[in-house]
């Protein structure tokens, strides 16, 4: 048997294996005797038929393919070993030449375990963006809350529509003197200035009196979603029934009690600030980890095994699919709207998948080098934490993970976390305070 590495790129290696005719003959003979033991030939007990008769009955090609299979299964391990290739995926085989009394040639195509040469991973330079939650931001949060708890109250001291009012009104639209579909409604609630109607419509309602009939003339924009109405001029007959104003609740202890479990507004403000700070810190830590990983990825050079990348792409797509479908949109509809097919989306996701796979290898390699392991105690602690979050018994969760063979996944997740932590601890981190204004962007 003779084998050589003919190609090794993109994480995939191709080995060419040549088995001389003489050696292949043995495989051929064993194929025949294997087959004769399996096949029923009239006039003979199983395994007793002469070779010639077995071949003529089954056909030369059939026997050859059986012989090829035997030859591959007997030689591929040797071929892989002698070429010092570390296979990562299940190998694929391509038969190049198989004929009786000739050399048997076949190719092994296999993903190989990448050889990772880690760059210096201690003391990676990174910038941690520290953000401080400010009172202004707390004010913003409170303002949003106020708005969410606001109520609409009828205006009594005037009867003309002003900017910012909420009005209840009837309208009936005509294009070329004809009413059109969706162009009429009664007691419709509209916020003047919200720009939810066609441009110009809301402005023309300003000054309109309650109970009086009026007319609004507007032109549908060219990019209107309804084909038939594009660019058409239309007249709306309108009648305002009621004017309402948004009334915000007072910002006081009472309000704090309503929306939270705190007793006073000051306590609530403190809590909001803490929460904001927590989320900023979390974000900053995550960003820092990302930075370090990106740096390491840039500096290391290896190819991710294609089969694993494909698997990762599948996974990302499935996650994405379930998210789309969670929003009530079918996957087919999404594809139609984004004008893409499965293949195009996969191509889009591939770089992301490659990065993830590479990160996996880098982290794994570092964990191996630094002996970062997850102890049973740590696993237990994590399970306890989850038990608390899900309000379930720890044993139930443990059982679930064990049953689905997911305990290793969990272990890997913890290991990743620990590795990242290790990297952050050993990185030279420069803290940079981010001004609150930058946050808005």
């Amino acid at each position: 048997m003779n084998s050589e590495l003919v190609k090794n790129e993109g994480g995939r290696a191709t080995l060419k294996v040549t088995i001389p005719a003489k050696e292949f003959k043995d495989f051929y003979n064993s194929a025949v005797s294997n087959l004769s033991r399996e096949v029923n030939i009239p006039g003979f007990r199983k395994g007793k038929a002469p070779k010639q008769i077995v071949i003529s009955r089954l056909g030369e090609n059939y026997v050859l393919s059986e012989a090829a299979q035997i030859a591959i299964s007997k030689t591929y391990a040797n071929a892989i070993q002698s070429n010092d290739v570390k296979p990562f995926s299940e190998p694929e085989y391509e038969v190049e030449q198989v004929e009786a009394d000739k050399d048997f040639i076949y190719n092994i195509v296999v993903d190989i375990l990448p050889e990772i040469e880690l760059p210096e991973y201690k003391g990676v330079k990174a910038v941690k963006k520290v953000k401080k939650a400010t009172d202004d931001e707390v004010d913003n949060v409170l303002k949003d809350l106020q708005k969410r708890h606001s109520q609409l109250v009828a205006v009594e001291d005037r009867d003309t529509v002003e900017e910012g009012d909420y009005i209840l009104f009837d309208f009936k639209g005509f294009v070329d003197g004809e009413p059109f579909e969706g162009g009429a409604a009664e007691n419709y609630t509209l916020e003047i200035g919200s720009n939810s109607f066609i441009p110009g419509f809301e402005d023309q309602l300003i000054g309109q009196k309650i109970g009086e009939e009026g007319k609004v003339t507007v032109t549908f924009p060219e990019d209107y979603h309804h084909e038939a109405l594009k660019g058409k001029e239309s007249i709306f007959e309108v009648k305002v029934n009621e004017i309402k104003k948004e009334e915000l609740p007072e910002l006081d202890d009472e309000f704090a009690k309503d929306v939270s479990d705190k007793e006073t507004l000051d306590e609530y403000r403190v809590q909001i600030k803490e929460d904001l700070q927590k989320s900023y810190d979390h974000q900053a830590a995550h960003e820092l980890e990302d930075q370090i990983l990106t740096k390491l990825l840039e500096e290391s050079e290896f190819d991710a095994p294609p089969s694993m990348v494909e698997l990762q792409v599948e996974q990302i797509i499935n996650d994405f699919k379930s998210r789309v479908e969670y929003q009530g949109i079918s996957w087919e509809l999404y594809l139609e709207h984004s004008k893409k097919d499965d293949e195009a989306i996969k191509a889009d996701l591939r770089p992301q998948a490659v990065t993830q796979v590479k990160n996996y290898f880098i982290l794994k390699e570092i964990a191996l080098k630094e002996n970062i392991e997850v102890s049973e105690d740590e696993l237990d602690l994590k399970l306890e934490e989850m038990a608390e979050n899900y309000q379930m018994a720890k044993d139930v969760i443990r059982e679930y993970y064990e049953q689905n063979n997911r305990l290793d996944d969990l272990r890997y997740e913890l290991q990743t976390q620990k590795t990242l932590q290790f990297l952050v601890e050993h990185a030279s981190v420069e803290e940079q305070v981010v001004e609150p204004e930058d946050l808005q962007a």
Binding site: P42, G43, A49, I53, S56, R57
Partner: protein
Amino acid sequence: MEFAHDIIRKPIVTEKTVALMEQNKYTFVVDKRATKAQIKHAVEQVFDVKVTSVTTMNMKGKLRTQGRTQGYRPDWKKAIVTLKDGDSIEILEGM
């Protein structure tokens, strides 16, 4: 029954007959009416070999049952032909 091919119906290829081939004996199903002389002549003509002896035997058709009716397969004649030393016939199943 005038042609050689009408006399020799087909070879019999079984474990037993393959074993006989070692002694240069070949087994055929032949026409029921064929004589040893005719068989010898036919084999020599078809396979281009020299025949030294022919033994024949009449075989009874087997009893076969199909549903409620019973009947016999046709009777036939088997011939074992011995060739001259050095001659051989390439016999494969399904010839």
